[in-house]
Every structure is written in structure tokens, then in C-alpha cells.
Symmetry: C2
Subunit: 178 residues, 2 copies
């Protein structure tokens, strides 16, 4: 399963592609940041971001997209452009039929560090370790995008393990009742 994580933003939009299976093992595929100049009009920036995102989707063909859920009450100044970037991501994903899952910052932090209140450097440090990277991904938006993808893969893997366990238990009960 290949997941593309998006830390939405117009000035910097973090993108990270991670692959994983049914366990906790995950592999880095690619990571980067799309930047658009704040001096440009917003419509230009949105089209540029969408074009760049489409290139990532073409190249890496992810099966799922993990997008950070933005809340209106945090960081009021940047919330509008973040919401714009989220909309661009959702549009492109939906047009390709790729499922988009929103993950809250708290659940992403909790997934990779064990604490929903972890600071950014701790998230970056854990992402670097989990993906066995020789250097920390920069900027923080890139690390956040990878954390989103890891969070998504691990949630899916955990759900699969639970489903497997339930099936095994059902089979055992059936065998016992025969």
C-alpha cells in the first residue's frame, strides 16, 4: 500500500510518499515541498500547486491520500490558505478516484511519537528514525507529510490486524462448536 501524505499550505505544501504492508515496517518512497510565492495572486498559486500535485500523483500513483485536517481556530492568519490548499488536494484526489482521509494533527503526532502533544522537532526525529533516513527531512512540512502517511498506514495496518484476529477467532469458535 502506497500512501501520499499532504501537509497543506500555499507557501509551503509538504508532500511525502510512504509504502507499508500489514506490519509496522514502512519505507520512504519520496518526499518534497511545493512552494508558491506569497507575492503571486491566490488563483495563480492554486493552479501552480495543483499542477505540481498532479505531477506527484502521476509519478508515484498512490493508492490513498492522507491529508491533515485543518481547524479554523488554530493559526487564524494562515487558515484560509491552508484550507485552499486542502481543497486543491481533495479535488485532484477525487477526480482520480483516490480516497482521501483526513487526520488531525493530534492523531498524527500520537501515531509517530506516542504523544498527541509532541513538538515539531520530536515528530521530525521520529519520522527520520521510522523511515531509517540518514538525515532529517526538511522543512518541517515535509516531515509532517511523511508523518501523515505513516499514521495512515499504521491505522490501516492496525485495523487489518484486528480484522484478521476477529476472523481467526470466529474460525476457532466454529471449529470448537462443530
Amino acid at each position: 500500500m502506497r500512501v501520499l501524505g499532504v501537509d497543506p499550505g500555499l507557501t509551503r505544501c509538504g508532500i511525502g510518499v510512504v509504502e507499508g504492508g500489514r506490519g509496522r515496517q514502512v519505507q520512504l518512497v519520496a518526499v518534497g515541498v511545493v512552494r508558491t510565492p506569497p507575492s503571486e495572486p491566490t488563483p495563480h498559486r492554486l493552479v501552480y500547486l495543483q499542477d505540481e500535485l498532479e505531477r506527484w500523483l502521476d509519478r508515484y500513483q498512490p493508492e490513498a491520500i492522507a491529508l491533515e485536517q485543518v481547524f479554523a481556530d488554530v493559526n487564524v492568519a494562515s487558515v484560509m490558505t491552508t484550507a485552499h490548499a486542502s481543497a486543491v488536494t481533495m479535488l485532484s484526489a477525487q477526480r482520480r478516484g483516490i480516497p482521501v482521509t483526513l487526520h488531525t494533527p493530534t492523531s498524527v503526532k500520537a501515531a509517530v511519537t506516542g504523544s498527541g502533544r509532541a513538538e515539531k522537532p520530536q515528530v521530525t526525529a521520529m519520522v527520520t528514525r521510522i523511515l531509517r533516513m540518514s538525515a532529517a527531512p526538511k522543512p518541517a512540512d515535509a516531515a509532517d507529510a511523511l508523518a501523515l502517511a505513516i499514521c495512515h498506514l499504521w491505522q490501516g495496518a492496525a485495523a487489518n490486524r484486528l480484522a484478521d484476529a476477529a476472523r481467526t477467532e470466529q474460525a476457532r469458535l466454529k471449529a470448537v462448536s462443530r
Copy 2:
């Protein structure tokens, strides 16, 4: 000059098309509302809104788009979906090369009612009168979209009259100085 006004929203997105020239005379071309069900996932709603908006652009071929500028501090609950709808509008407009101008709610209200603090019913009443409509456009989002288009046309007409006046004055000064 034909202007398409957009009062952005996902549950209800007001769209109004108005035509005007160099004066204050403006004509209604079309008005409507695109609705998307809140029960649907956001990516679906964004694609539906964009498809509908594209139909309006195909059909009415506006030369400019007037979009309401959303502020993060008003109505926190709906600001995210409003920002999403704005992004959809800006993307579609930019891809067609149609200029998008953002107008604040205050400047739109001031343009049509004379007061930046006018209430919604007053805006609707003035839009109905200005466009000589037999009945008030409903819902309020549709009236707001028309108000946006009128505001845009009148600002442009005023700018044109100022430019005309400046040119006339320059020509007069040239003639006098000869």
C-alpha cells in the same frame, strides 16, 4: 461587460450573472444556487461544485468573476467549507484565464445599499430594485452573488469614468498650453 458573482459555500453557493456598461445601468442575466449535501464527503462535494460552476462558466462566458473575500474570524464553523468553495472558484477561473477579484462583504454592502453594515434583507431589497426583478432572489446567497457582480461592475465603471475624466482633463491642459 459580463460579471459572474460567487458567494462561496458548499451547502449553498450563490451564483449571479450581471451585465453592465460604463454607467450605473446593470442587467440581470442569470441567478441560481449550487447546493451540495452536507452528508457527502468533502472531496465529492468539491468536485460536484466545480462541475456545476464549470457549466455556468460554459453557458454564460463571463469576462470577470467577483468572489466574496472570506475572513477567518467570522463564523468559524463554516469558514473552512467557504474557503474550500473559494478555492474551487479560483482554480476554475484561473484555468480559463478569467480574472478573479475578491470583494469584502463590507464593500459589497456599501456598494449596493450605501452602508457597509447593512443587513441581509436590505441587500436583497436593493439588488431586487437595481436589477428591476419582479421578485426578490432567493435564497440570500443568490442575492449576495448578484450584489457581488453589481459591486464589481460599479467599481469598474467608476474607475473608467475617473480614467475618462483624467484623459479629458489632460487633453484640455494640452490644448490650453499650445
